[in-house]
Symmetry: C2
Subunit: 210 residues, 2 copies
DNA sequence: CTAATTTCTTGATTTTTGTCAAGAGCGAAA
DNA sequence: TTTCGCTCTTGACAAAAATCAAGAAATTAG
């Protein structure tokens, strides 16, 4: 059983790579496509594991976003404050990569704050180390671009949902794909990310349960 | 005056590059950052000029998007049809690059239709030729990524506007930056891309003019 | 230039969503 | 356990936005 946790190389060196990192490998595979197994291990070795407690911030608006984080477990809320209220942009669950992309890439002050909604396990990579991936895995720059395009497309879809759907339709679409979130994070945040008030959310929810 | 139209190199070769292409060069510079002048000419030479008549389609939903187009003059409406109505996702004006990105990159059926709202001059590049840019200009892949990130950020902002603003606020924000569109394209399309009905748009407009 | 078509405006009305306020439910902490 | 704070729900009402319908204005086609 041991080598499931600490797999051995040909010459019996222990790879300093906890077993649960395998999940990160799997997600990288699924998001970025086929990468050589050795490369994958190199990439994953650049990530470091951290835990962030409920309520704590991974990033605050105005600070630089200097790392990319992968959610191993827990929930992160990405939001920004306006004069009147906080607006939740997204909630990251297991398997999501979370970042203020613009801040990370351009070294500008971040627009988003990122807060843990429960104790959350992360694997994070610094900007510096992230750059190394491109050197080690030449293919990476292309895979990264494809990943970006997929993210872009998701945002396009989300805009389309606001141009063409009612609050109730957005609710139904969201829960068709994110059923599990409903009982695990404060509903007010989901309401906000769907572009409605908590009261409207509550009423739609009641209607859908009936 | 001639060399404004056909600028001469040191050795008096005429660069086969119509004067108005310079504008495309300028936009590439401004979007993608500093590229060597020779490279820029190479890139621009891969584009071909076309004109598309009012009402004609550059792309239809379901077809492959096999080229990237730059708007030299005119207006393009990017939209998709739902059961009830057509939803305008964006209107491209002079200086915009227009594409169904997902279709172009992944060779999937395009989600958007693109139609000319007036006779429109375009510079287009095929997917095949676009790939060559990366070979000629090694830096291109990085510049392209930065451009993508900027586009991504714009979409994030747009989502935020739907999560946090009223129709009237979106109207005002839009016209702070796109005053010129108001008298040049059917207002119903602008209404749609801002996520409101033509009637609501008309009323807000009246209110703002008063 | 005129007729036809499309687009835009306006009013009346309905529907959707937001606001305000009160109370219920629930979990965390003393 | 009991209290405190936070979240969610509910009702009454207000505001925002959509719908429907008619007509005016603008544009296009003949």
């Amino acid at each position: 059983m041991l080598n499931e946790v600490f797999p051995l190389t040909d010459d019996n060196r222990i790879i300093p790579n906890p077993q649960n990192m395998t999940e990160l490998e799997q997600y990288i595979q699924s998001y970025f496509g086929v990468v050589d197994t050795e490369d994958l291990k190199t990439i994953v070795s650049l990530f470091t594991s951290t835990t962030i407690k409920k309520g704590e911030y991974l990033l605050k608006t105005g600070k630089r976003c200097d790392k990319l984080s992968f959610v191993q477990s827990g929930f992160l809320r990405i939001f920004a404050a306006t004069e009147e209220k906080e607006v939740t942009q997204w909630i990251s669950t297991k398997g999501y990569f979370t970042i203020d992309l613009s801040s990370f890439v351009f070294d500008t002050p971040s627009r988003w704050s990122i807060q843990a909604l429960v104790d959350t396990e992360l694997y994070s990579i610094t900007k510096e180390d992230y750059k190394k991936i491109g050197d080690v895995v030449p293919k990476w720059r292309e895979l990264e671009k494809l990943f970006l395009v997929r993210c872009f497309t998701i945002l396009e879809d989300r805009i389309f949902s606001h141009l063409s759907m009612t609050a109730e339709e957005r609710y139904n679409l969201f829960f068709a794909y994110n059923r599990e979130l409903l009982n695990q994070v404060p509903l007010q945040y989901i309401a906000s990310m769907l572009g409605m008030t908590p009261e409207t959310f509550s009423r739609i929810r009641k209607k859908q349960l009936a």
